[in-house]
């Protein structure tokens, strides 16, 4: 019996000794006990290290000595014990005082301790010095804040995030500046709104996200849309973003407006020279055809017509009619040839300037059609000849479409200087159409393809949009740099 009764007590003794050993050696935690009133009744090596009191200096004192004055004033120590009693335990983080009056950031757990009769015996208190961790957290949060602030305020790059489906979830100042949308107008929308219709038709936005997922990132250059429908030449990097579990969270998108740089580069490279050459050669060819038709074909047909009229005068009535009808056919053909040469003839851009040439063309082409026109221009200066002639030719084509297809009563032509180039907008109030791509794809609208090719060959962009019953707008932009000017661009 003595053996059997002493064994458990030995075990208990050993266990308490071990516990003591453990407590004395844990230096990362201050582990000590309070009596029911909050007076310190035990102390440990960790407590001494963290709080700076030797056991003999602190045992018997109230634990509120560890609290800063503002906590004392708020009666915090008493409330913490009450909470521990009411809920069994309490966890808190906050500033605590060391013996030398300095503070440390403490994680505190107070546990209410009951005996086997359910009587409150006191409290166990475990305190950990979290000062370094807190400083690191603060530093991290601070750097995250600074980073967020930086991203938000960068104006040279559009930096924003997409969710996994491609909806915009964040926005920055650069995105607003480059794309023209305020954050509240764009967040939640799909990023495909930035792509031109031809890219949408080619399913480009979806393919770009797929590539970003497959390869981690994707880089692309191309035309993107601003909020106002105009375009800019974008360098785009899309990065797939994963969380620590390897789960796709969304995409980061960084977009830069490269319009000016592209304009400068193209002005310098072979394409620029080739384009100048091409435009001049094309105009020369047109001029030659126009002269030939005028000087030869039309003159001969005029002579034939006059001859037929003379002949008709000397013929019996039944033949006279036939010959006069022939003459009418010839006259009608002359009219069509005149329209053709009017269309082909180079405008007097070098002599009168682009605006005057367009004004003259509008006047002549709308004469007698009932179509009224308005020409507005805010050009800083005259564009170079190649640009001017390309603008003129595209406008000519667009106006031909208005006259032939739009059933419009009014057309407004607007020219403005934008991004070292010229934006041209031709809007009518005619029939309009539902889907721009159908119009572009329709082989019947060969002119649309020609307009777009002209603009793109010149390093610009071209678009058409329309609303059924509410008119059509052709809009395009061409770079307009004078020779040598590309060096002064950024």
């Amino acid at each position: 019996m003595p053996d059997s009764s002493s064994r458990p007590s030995r075990v208990t003794d050993l266990s308490e000794r071990d516990a003591r050993l453990l407590l004395d050696n844990i230096v990362d935690y201050a582990i000590f006990m309070l009596d029911r009133e909050g007076r310190i009744v035990s102390w440990s090596a960790g407590a001494e290290r963290i709080k700076g009191y030797a056991a003999q200096d602190i045992i018997g004192r109230h634990f509120s000595v560890f609290y800063p004055p503002e906590d004392i004033a708020a009666d915090k120590p008493r409330r913490e014990l009450e909470t521990a009693v009411a809920e069994g335990r309490l966890e808190d983080e906050g500033w605590r005082l060391r013996n030398d009056g300095t503070r440390f950031w403490a994680n505190v757990v107070i546990t209410a301790l009951y005996d086997q009769h359910g009587e409150l015996r006191g409290f166990g208190k475990v305190t950990r010095d979290m000062t370094e961790r807190r400083m690191a957290d603060l530093a991290l949060r601070d750097s995250e804040d600074r980073f967020r602030l930086m991203v938000q305020n960068v104006v040279d790059y559009a930096i924003f995030m997409l969710d996994r489906q491609g909806h915009i979830v964040s926005w920055n100042a650069g995105a607003e500046r480059i794309k023209g949308y305020a954050a509240q107008d764009i967040i939640g929308r799909h990023f495909s709104v930035f792509y031109p219709p031809e890219d949408i038709a080619a399913d480009k936005p979806r393919r770009e996200l797929e590539t970003a997922v497959a390869e981690g990132r994707l880089e692309d250059e191309g035309w993107r849309l601003r909020n106002d429908g105009t375009r800019f030449w974008a360098n785009v990097v899309i990065t797939a973003l994963y969380d620590q579990h390897g789960e796709l969270r969304g995409f980061g998108k960084v977009t830069r407006d490269m319009t000016e740089r592209r304009t400068a580069e193209r002005a310098l490279d072979e394409r620029g020279k080739l384009l100048t050459h091409l435009v001049h050669a094309q105009e020369l060819e047109r001029r030659r055809i126009a002269w030939d038709v005028h000087d030869d074909t039309i003159q001969s047909m005029v002579a034939v017509g006059m001859r037929l009229q003379l002949l008709a005068g000397g013929l019996p009535a039944e033949h006279e009619d036939a010959v006069l009808r022939l003459n009418e056919t010839v006259t009608a053909a002359i009219g069509r040839l005149r329209n053709l040469t009017f269309h082909l003839r180079p405008p007097e851009i070098e002599r009168d300037g682009l605006v005057a040439a367009l004004s003259g063309y509008l006047k002549q082409t709308t004469a007698g059609t009932g179509l009224r026109y308005t020409l507005r221009h805010e050009l800083d200066r005259e564009p170079p000849y190649e640009t001017a002639i390309t603008i003129f030719r595209i406008c000519q084509e667009a106006l031909t479409n208005v006259r032939k297809h739009a059933h419009a009563s009014r057309v407004t032509l607007t020219l403005s200087s934008v991004d070292h180039g010229v934006t041209v907008r031709l809007a009518d109030d005619g029939a309009g159409f539902a889907r721009p791509l159908d119009a572009v794809a329709d082989t019947g609208h060969f002119g649309l393809i020609e307009m777009r090719e002209r603009a793109e060959t010149a390093g610009g962009w071209w678009s058409i949009r329309g609303v059924p019953g509410n008119g059509t707008t052709v809009e395009f932009w061409l770079p307009a740099l004078w020779r040598g000017e590309e060096n002064r661009l950024p």
């Binding site: 005028h294 000087d295 003159q299 005029v302 002579a303 017509g305 006059m306 006259t331 005149r338 003839r345």
Partner: protein
């Protein structure tokens, strides 16, 4: 044919296109009150013939060799101040019209008009005092 008999309007034609020269001459010559007195193939010849014949009316192409219609018109006004000058052109653009007007041309006919209109224009010019 509404003109008083005996008063015949003399006309000079200047055009580098032979088909036009010939047919215009026949159209006008068919009218009893009109008489084509000279036909020139270029500007210099038109000036020379106008100086020699002093026609009432000169009908000039705008684009023709040796200086064009404007040059011919200026020369004719110098050599034959009484001659009234009419342009007969395939070009109806503002530039061509202005160019001829500056050279003293008051009537501008577009090639392709009915013969009757051409004849009427010549008569109107001749009687317009």
């Amino acid at each position: 044919m509404t003109e008083t008999p005996g008063r015949v309007v003399t006309v000079l034609i200047g055009d580098d296109e032979p088909l036009i020269r010939e047919v215009l001459r026949e159209v006008l010559q068919a009218e009893p009150d009109l008489d084509v007195v000279a036909v020139a193939r270029d500007a210099e010849e038109a000036i020379e013939l106008a100086g020699r014949h002093a026609p009432a009316i000169a009908i000039l192409d705008v684009r023709m060799p040796a200086g064009g219609g404007a040059h011919a018109a200026r020369g004719i006004r110098r050599r034959s101040p009484g001659t009234r000058i009419m342009a007969f052109s395939a070009y109806g653009d503002a530039g061509s019209v202005d160019q001829m007007r500056l050279a003293g041309v008051t009537e501008y006919l577009l090639k392709g008009l009915p013969n009757a209109d051409i004849v009427a224009a010549v008569r109107r010019m001749a009687t317009d005092d």
